[in-house]
């Protein structure tokens, strides 16, 4: 473990015509940690991720990933990262396995077939491996998307709103996958507007608002920013999510592929 931050962002600015989306964003991400970037719609989370993954150029400021400047050493940055965008970037016409093989080949790795099979297994997609992705459920598509991002063991993974549009099981599957990533030493920067998600996953949380990072700290640090909690006795009702998962069967461990829509729709 090095003490140098793996992602370093300083004074980042970006405007789209009249709209100043980023007005000077600063943050660092430590190697091997999960960093959550919180913000409402249009706060500029995706803009930050796209600049860090070399898809966009910043107007001002500096950003580096894995020690490489995103503007001047873009090729090195691309070797170090993987991007999972807001919409599952999978090829609908290819099968799940073909999607994985494609990415492995594009990363110039040896034995793309073996790599694909390992990931299919790890993400519980083996049964659906030969099916066209267009037949996958939202959760399976997201899992495949994340699996594609892991090929070549990139040191930094960007997950842009990884659970948007997923049902509760799908969300739990993705959370599980993200936690495993961090256990393997991968640095994860995830953006979300789901506060619960940030609370469950992130080592550090930053809030992007008005084009700047207004708060940045661990959950415990953030909690100190508001007045101390009062002790009240409240009967703990199960949430609708608890209820839903209890009825349809919690499948946090990868779930049942494809068949889940058949099982859960029962009487």
């Amino acid at each position: 473990m090095t003490s140098q931050p793996v992602i370093h962002v300083q004074g980042l600015q970006k405007s789209y015509k009249q709209l100043h989306v980023l007005r000077g964003v600063d943050f660092d991400v430590a190697r091997g940690s999960i960093f959550a970037l919180l913000g409402s719609n249009g706060a500029g989370k995706t803009t930050v991720v796209n600049i860090l993954s070399t898809l966009l150029k910043a107007d001002a400021g500096a950003a580096s990933v894995n020690g490489f400047d995103v503007a001047t050493q873009a090729a090195n940055v691309r070797e170090s990262i993987s991007l999972t965008g807001q919409f599952a970037a999978v090829d609908e016409i290819l099968s799940g396995r073909e999607n994985l093989v494609l990415v492995a080949q594009l990363r110039h790795l040896k034995g793309p077939g073996t790599i694909a099979d390992d990931l299919l297994d790890r993400f519980s997609l083996t049964d659906a491996a030969a099916r066209k992705v267009s037949t996958y459920s939202g959760g399976m598509r997201r899992r495949l998307d994340i699996a594609m991002s892991l090929i070549g063991n990139p040191q930094v993974i960007f997950l842009d709103e990884p659970t948007t549009g997923l049902d509760p099981q799908g969300r739990i599957e993705v959370w599980q996958a993200v936690k495993e990533l961090a256990e393997h030493g991968t640095t994860v920067l995830l953006t979300t507007q789901n506060l619960d998600e940030a609370e469950r996953l992130a080592d550090r949380i930053a809030i992007l608002h008005g084009g700047r990072i207004i708060v940045n700290g661990t959950l415990a640090e953030l909690k100190q920013l508001i007045p101390p909690a009062k002790v009240e006795y409240v009967e703990k009702q199960p949430t609708l999510e608890d209820l839903f998962l209890a009825i349809v069967g919690d499948s946090g461990q990868g779930g049942s592929d494809g068949a889940d829509s058949n099982n859960s729709k029962g009487k």
């Binding site: 090729a75 991007l83 494609l102 594009l106 110039h108």
Partner: protein, 254 residues
Amino acid sequence: MTTHFFGDTAVLLGRSLRHITRSPDTIITTTIMPIAMMLLFVYVFGGAIDTGSDSYVNYMLPGILLITIASGISYTAFRLFLDMQSGIFERFQSMPIARASVLWAHVLTSLVANLVSLVLVVLVAFLMGFRSPAGVVAWLEIAGILILFTLALTWIAVIPGLTAKSVDGASAFSYPLIFLPFISSAFVPTATMPGPVRAFAENQPVTSIVNTIRDLFAQQPVGTDIWIALAWCVGILVVAYIFAMVIYRRKISQ
């Protein structure tokens, strides 16, 4: 980065060729319109058109082949547009691959798909009585011109593919290209056209290309038409390529 250019292009070409083999309807819809036109012109209008040639299907096949290409390239724009929309384009761009490969794979896919369509149309023409005394060399020359024309139109198709805001926008550009052969020597001799129309018909690219292919099929001397045809194809190719590349660079480094 450039060291991987050919490998990456080959991998991505394999991907988009798979798209075609899994939705062969794109080939069928590409060929159906030119084949329908060919039937219409040969069996309905053809009898009333005096071309001075004894077989009308021989006369009009070159124009039909160009229409086939013009309708085929709209799928190139469509496929590129879908890649831009689906996010897979961004995934490729954030990976350590040769960036030009993404475009070249689409361009080569367009070439393969159009060649398959052209072969199908020529086979139907044979069934309808098309005959040519052309030898291997002439056929290769015809193939070369058609490949050049396909590449030129494909690079034009890349531009709406990259910039379109909707699926309709991505493919609508091909309609004028499909109709260009009608105001040329493709179906009727230009001599019967009124002055300004005739001037346009005789000086637009399709006429010289059609005349060249027709002469090659008939084993006639091609004259200067072939040089005009090649100049048009290469000129369109170079200009479209430069524009497409400028737009592409702007897209990938905003």
